[in-house]
């Protein structure tokens, strides 16, 4: 219950116009800080749904696959240059961002993550590693300005942000392959 309240408070804070404007003024903060934080608020808010409707989740998301697919779809959608631009130019898209990332990405992620097992988790991490390398390459190497609201230099910064994240994911994968965490717990 407490988690849900914290999640809602964080969501409200992020939605405050000065906070939102500040975060959206820098491309990399918009995509790599604001959006993940929105997902995180959903992660916290999910608690109340899990307590209230445990059976629905067990029934509709028994193996975690629908939830994780929904999460991937929403995240990939928000890495498109166009979605990000439109969130800045159109009020309705901005609202959709603040609704879809917590509700359709954060909540399913929390419920699915423990259900999909180690193999599923690693598959998702591998998928995002490939995706982030791809997006990084796109944003760094693109000869044109992809987002009308941001400068090319910000686009390159964002690209390196993607690549850096991908490197971290690779390090994690190597680490879990060669060590057995249960030995240290």
């Amino acid at each position: 219950m407490k988690q849900t309240i914290y999640g809602l408070l964080l969501l409200l804070f992020l939605a405050l116009p000065p906070v939102a404007n500040l975060m959206e003024s820098v491309m990399i903060i918009h995509m790599h800080m604001q959006m993940p934080m929105l997902i995180f608020t959903g992660f916290l808010i999910a608690r109340i749904f899990q307590l209230r409707f445990p059976h629905s989740f067990d029934k509709w998301n028994s193996n975690g696959i629908p939830g994780i697919i929904l999460f991937v779809i929403i995240v990939v959608y928000w890495t498109l240059p166009r979605s990000m631009d439109e969130a800045l130019n159109e009020q309705s898209m901005e609202i959709f961002k603040f609704v879809s990332l917590p509700l359709l990405a954060g909540i399913p992620l929390r419920d699915s993550w423990k259900r999909i097992g180690t193999v599923g988790k690693n598959l998702i991490i591998i998928l995002f590693t490939i995706l982030f390398i791809g997006m990084g390459w796109l944003y760094i190497d693109s000869p044109v300005q992809l987002c009308n609201n941001y400068l090319v230099i910000e686009q390159i910064t964002l690209g390196w942000g993607f690549v850096t994240t991908a490197i971290c994911l690779v390090i994690y994968l190597v680490y879990t392959t060669f060590t057995d965490p249960s030995k240290y717990e």
Partner: protein, 210 residues
């Protein structure tokens, strides 16, 4: 599997939702950047060129009706630009050279519009025009002195200009074609010179044939 049918159903539902989301979000997998979406929408909407007053490199003042009855081939630039504008204008001059001179000034005019009226006064434009062999008549360079009029035009034609704080601007670039009645009819990729020139020759040829 049968026991799991709600989950399987949810899976399908989610995939369908994702497909719809991407389909709508990219105009049917057509436009993945806002710029593509903008250009497609402009070509559909065909907005009218707003009523603005130009001041050209020769210090003359006129509105878009100066070009009534002719096509106008337009670019937006600022002369202090060191990146994309010189390339844009260079490509514009290539298009200019490819269009037969019999049409020039009679059926079509070229127009470069500055969105930096503070610095681009007539004498600056006069000098700049020389770099690209613009004659100042059939290819004119002009500024719009009233900021409100300039903003209205940029908004109507979807030109997004962001000052970068060092006296430069980031902006989207394209070739714009306005028809004889002052409506925007096409937005072309400024990197594809031949394509743009062929299109112009095609349109002008059809008009002449009528």
């Amino acid at each position: 599997m049968i026991k799991n049918w709600p989950t399987t159903f949810a899976c399908l539902l989610v995939i369908l939702f994702g497909f719809a989301l991407f389909y709508i979000g990219t105009d049917g997998f057509q436009a993945f950047t806002a710029e593509t979406a903008r250009v497609n929408k402009l070509i559909d909407d065909k907005p009218k060129f707003p009523d603005v007053t130009f001041e050209d490199s020769k210090g003359r003042n006129y509105s878009i009706s100066e070009f009534k009855g002719k096509y106008v081939f337009i670019t937006f630039l600022y002369t202090s630009c060191t990146t994309v504008c010189p390339q844009l204008e260079m490509n514009m001059s290539k298009v200019y050279d490819k269009v037969p001179s019999k049409y020039m000034g009679k059926d079509i005019n070229f127009l470069s519009i500055s969105f930096d009226p503070a610095r681009d006064d007539p004498s600056t434009l006069e000098k700049y025009r020389g770099y690209f062999n613009s004659d100042g008549e059939t290819w004119r360079m002009a500024r719009i002195t009233k900021q409100a009029e300039l903003d209205a035009l940029l908004k109507e034609f979807g030109v997004i200009v962001i000052p970068d704080g060092n006296g430069s601007f980031a902006h989207n670039s394209a070739f714009y074609l306005v028809d004889k009645n002052g409506s925007l009819v096409d937005v072309m990729d400024y990197k594809k010179v031949d394509e743009a020139a062929n299109k112009l020759v095609d349109i002008l040829g059809k008009e002449a044939g009528e």
